[in-house]
Symmetry: C2
Subunit: 214 residues, 2 copies
């Protein structure tokens, strides 16, 4: 079969991809948040993210400051953990952790009749108050974050709220956006571990963890 | 903030999600492929997958037969690997592997001026002819599969073609669909490691690796 392939070198393909995204954007995206929005579109090929991403007023500044300060990252999904750029993390000495497969989390979830995602938030709250929490799967993680924040038990430096789905997903994001906490949220049903990882990577690159490539 | 949450038990939320997807489907989906299409929509909240998934005539049968026969799975992304249900794999004694972080693959890619994704396909071809190959990221993986298949060096039992992006992605999928090989492909630009993992999990569940939950 004859198909014309773009002969760009592997290292140029990401750059070319971002050029295509830029040329096809139908919505005005402010320059400061563009690296994040474009990376999410790059990871999904879904331009609806040009319209559904929400940033708290201080989100970008808080995110970059937290990363530069070496604040650790917790996430509710091993897929998002796998997708976060480890080399970029290491520039800042940051560890990213997911507790979802931990035996103590499974036990706590059973005992409290909750989800492992909610129990993982409780474990993060014990490990340290100073963290970025990244949700790419479970609305129950966002709901538990909401509860602990309103009870003044934790104060995350940033919440990335990108669970995906049909039950409690929209609502859990609205809860987070009602708080006075730095957040980056994909409003609506969409999101996912790939989206969550893309947001984190974009932040890491903005903070200087890697060349932005566009 | 007062928000009405669905009080379904965690184990019922997936079931409820699939009911919502079913009720909102605007396209006729044949019953046999529905478990796969619905699981992809479940993982993305993107109903465009109801229209863009392509199955070769023998794909479902080949997929289930391969899984029941314990054929191993190779994938081009550690995120997809993280998202594949390990408990369901173990029912069939299947191993899933990703070579992207392997030192020999990085070296081969440098030496051959290709991508690690393409070099990973070469490594899979050496490890064994009998495999399912799952692409959730790199069109170069699909292109390399196409080359080795046309050279009659490999004959994968199934190709899951779900790379995402803007450069060579559409074309690489068309190459695969031009072959006489069992495939499940997301036509167009969309796909991703989450989509790839969802397709694999749907196949594992169809083969009996877990209750389908709808």
């Amino acid at each position: 079969m004859k198909i014309q392939l773009d002969q760009s070198l592997p290292e140029d393909i990401e750059k070319r991809s971002f050029e295509i995204i830029e040329s096809e954007l139908k919505t005005y995206i402010p320059e400061d948040i563009k690296p994040i929005v474009k990376r999410v579109i790059h990871t999904t090929a879904d331009f609806s993210y040009a319209e559904n991403m929400r940033f708290s007023p201080e989100a970008l500044e808080a995110a970059v400051k937290a990363v530069k300060g070496g604040v650790n990252i917790f996430t509710d999904t091993n897929m998002a953990l796998a997708g976060i750029n480890k080399k970029a993390l290491s520039v800042f000495g940051i560890e990213a952790k997911c507790f979802m497969s931990d035996e103590d989390v499974a036990r706590a979830a059973r005992e409290n009749k909750t989800t492992r995602a909610a129990a993982s938030v409780d474990k993060a709250a014990i490990e340290g108050k100073d963290f970025i929490y990244v949700v790419g799967n479970a609305p129950t993680a966002l709901i538990r974050l909401y509860e602990l924040i309103t009870e003044e038990k934790i104060k995350p430096r940033l919440i990335v709220g990108a669970p995906v789905g049909f039950v409690n997903v929209v609502e859990s994001k609205e809860l987070i956006m009602s708080l006075n906490v730095p957040y980056i949220v994909c409003a609506g049903r969409k999101g996912g571990s790939n989206v969550a990882a893309a947001i984190v990577n974009a932040i890491l690159y903005m903070a200087g963890g890697r060349k932005q490539n566009f």
